[in-house]
Symmetry: C3
């Protein structure tokens, strides 16, 4: 079982499908922009600028890579309006080459349509409603009262709890769990291992033992949200946990009960958001960042990877709390002093006083 090279050609061979090609003119008809060069050139796959071949289209978002264009064998390239013309290669000129590329890549790589209907090895409760164009794959389980919208896909081994709703065109990849009563919007993508609506971490200490606080809220997931693999979003304790539209969550993120994540905020992998945190819209939270409970983060805040936020943030900007790494021996010398900063400061103050006194003499 040798590993074949990861070329699009390989993938085509694998699927045995003839990939559809598009001319540059067809692309600009569809997505806007203008062609510089031969609008009749046809492309059938996207590729990195270094490896793209004549039937492939690539993109350039940074002028410093312009040089790469000269030696590229790509059939065409998507460039911004500031790109220097003159390359021998045909271009599509547009406002946002990266977004343009995304749309072309999606056009050239359509996801195989899931077969509509309920697989005979799935279990759908008789009191669930599955739209006729929806797909429920093998070994998926849909409980009583649940609703699966038109063109939605419930992947293999998924679970959709009682009275949960899955919106139109939403795709649950295999092994996703949506607990009872949670509501998922339209065109949402959830990757494998995601868990929506598990109980929040709520308990009262009573005479040395914890008493569980029932978690009776829901999770509401807005339209066009994407949720990464093994990301977990807890249901609310009393009110709901809310993920607003267009939020993008990477893998292995934990979002506690009663959080609200504002529209079009993106959170990178392994971030942990404690309970009752409100995050504004258009924020960007770095990987492995942590936000303590009950805080509020303004719109358009960027939080660096690995940063722990322990106070609310009221102003847009970038916030960081990373300890810079160094070779271990250097770290040892410096880290030991961290516990003595207070003492260092005292010694500086005392020096200042001594000098003042000496100067006063």
């Amino acid at each position: 079982m040798a590993v074949a090279p990861a070329t699009p050609a390989y993938r085509d061979a694998m699927t045995g499908e003839e990939r559809k090609s598009y001319s540059l003119a067809e692309l600009t008809d569809r997505f806007g922009g203008t062609v510089l060069g031969d609008a009749a050139i046809r492309v059938r796959q996207v590729a990195p600028i270094e490896t793209a071949g004549p039937s492939e289209i690539t993109f350039l978002t940074n002028r410093k890579f312009q040089k790469l264009l000269d030696s590229s064998k790509a059939g065409a390239v998507i460039v911004g309006k500031d790109a220097t013309s003159g390359a021998a290669i045909s271009c599509i000129v547009c406002d946002n080459p990266y977004a343009y590329y995304a749309r072309v890549a999606a056009l050239l790589n359509p996801e195989p349509a899931a077969e509509a209907g309920i697989h005979p090895k799935a279990f759908v409760h008789s009191a669930a409603r599955v739209a006729s164009s929806a797909s429920v794959a093998a070994c998926a389980v849909v409980e009583a009262g649940a609703q699966i919208g038109e063109h939605a896909v419930v992947g293999a081994n998924c679970f959709v709890g009682r009275h949960a709703m899955i919106g139109e065109g939403t795709r649950l990849h295999p092994n996703v769990t949506v607990y009872h009563d949670c509501i998922v919007g339209k065109r949402v993508i959830m990757h494998s291992g995601a868990v929506i609506g598990a109980d929040g971490f709520g308990m009262a200490m009573d005479a040395g033992r914890y008493v569980k606080i029932p978690q009776i809220g829901r999770v509401l997931v807005g339209d066009d949200v994407e949720i990464g693999a093994s990301t977990t979003i807890d249901r609310g304790a009393l009110a709901d946990t809310v993920i607003e539209e267009g939020v993008k969550l990477d893998n292995q993120i934990q979002i506690g009960h009663n959080c609200r994540i504002g529209a079009h905020t993106a959170i990178a992998g392994c971030a942990g958001i404690a309970g009752s945190v409100t995050i504004g819209s258009h924020c960007r939270i770095g990987g492995s960042a942590m936000i303590s409970g009950h805080l509020s983060i303004a719109d358009r805040v960027d939080i660096s990877g690995g940063t722990l936020i322990a106070k609310s943030i009221t102003k847009p900007g970038t916030y960081t709390s990373v300890f810079p790494f160094s070779p271990h021996e250097d770290w040892l010398k410096n880290a030991s002093l961290l516990r003595h900063l207070h003492e260092m400061m005292d010694r500086i103050r005392s020096l200042e006083q001594q000098i003042k006194k000496m100067e006063g003499q």
Copy 2:
């Protein structure tokens, strides 16, 4: 698929069930405490103090929110013994309002009973023993020699390995994995994606390649433990990994092989406990905290969120190692100096010597 407001009324409408109501007298009969006001008032749901209506009961744990009571439309409120009387609203007075609230909330929101029996789309090995009152849901798999106790629930798509035991009244939510030979106590709750008993991370380096150390211990989970979504607890290498009774684990926690987590310890989301760590009882470990391998943590230790513990802790108390966050530009200025602390200290020492010398002149 519009999102209905998250009111209990909504939820009632969804399920079509008439929710049972209780008078304050019935509640105090059941849970203790005394009624101040009209003991005949009936409540049917819990709600936050700001939104609670006449058929709902709320609670007050902090005197600073007392003011909210005056404007609350709640049918009743659970308060502590120190609450100022005089509110127009009827009260249940008790020692621990939050725990009392938890019990009332559980009474008013009973979990729908799982249907006893083995779903026809589950697979239970003929050499497994499933109690007659237990429930094994669709697409769950129970292997040879496994035992499922009375009233236990094995959710959809769960896996219970050979010779594993699931105690009385324990509930595995969908998509939980319990590996072979692991033993889970009574009334345990495991959320979706939890993995109990995967191999610990043990290997020996030999001539440039790792040799796997077989992990032949088990995981033992005590009674009344709760395990969050996507939390993983590795089986022991030789001896067992032990989670003592009443431990509460949030989501996405990793517990390495041969750990022992003491009774009634709570660990928040995303914490990582390396192998062979012993944690005492009644500890509280914050979110994203990390504990290095082979350490020992005393009883009643609190560890702050995001803190890395690299030495054993022998005394109760709170321990912290968080780098405080700041706007990125401020952080840049200060963080760069962290690598020069040792040098700063040297310069302070040298200043002290110079001054000593000057004073000596």
Copy 3:
């Protein structure tokens, strides 16, 4: 359901199997090394030095534990060539006692063979190829074009996507997800909850909304890799994500799209590797470590647990960025000064100038 003691005897009783025993001579025939003492002694299980009984074999990797040998009741012990002789107990002397122990433990604890064939409650697409000696367990799903190699095991509730390949002798524990087109080598072990090939976190911002970048690369997993529970490895955006042979990944690790992890590198639990990171071979990455995107880490680099790497590392060595923990009150005093390091440095500089001036007088 009382918890029986975790002795091998218990486990034997549970499975009802008579465990096979081996003489020390048989072991050295198989694995090398030499016997000191009685080569006819038979052992049937491995055990820690403190609890091992006469039918058990233990090991000693550190001379400082030599004393334990005197009181040990073990039937035999595996020791290094530097071990002091004289113990009453029979020894196998070898170069690498820990690796030797690993091999003996594997011999004495063979994994029960999975039954070859496709379980009637699994679903295997008619256009998938499953080798005749492979095992596909209950409620597993194998899609069109997928290939399952000889002696491979696809556990219960696993998903293998279209055109994915699972190599010879590879074992997917229950609830593992392998997305379409991913290629998994030989003798790979994947633990429950692992997700291979979910989409990388790629999107372009366009007029306030994110546009998804299709992720059309694959994940390639080399031979002899082990992947822990709930570890997620994203597929490449254009090129592939590559895990080279012999890599060992613990639980809950996130590996972003387009990473390449070098051969025989080991990564401990909860580590987060952002996208497009290249890690060399024979590295050791500690638990909860984080590596920022697009970095390159040389061969044989060790990164301490909890360390965030934000710059490429070109030289072997150990690197650390941990803030040392302390009792909370001490931390408060010192942490507040971290935001004033720059100011402390300014004050030191100013003191130096004053003294220089005074000395110049």
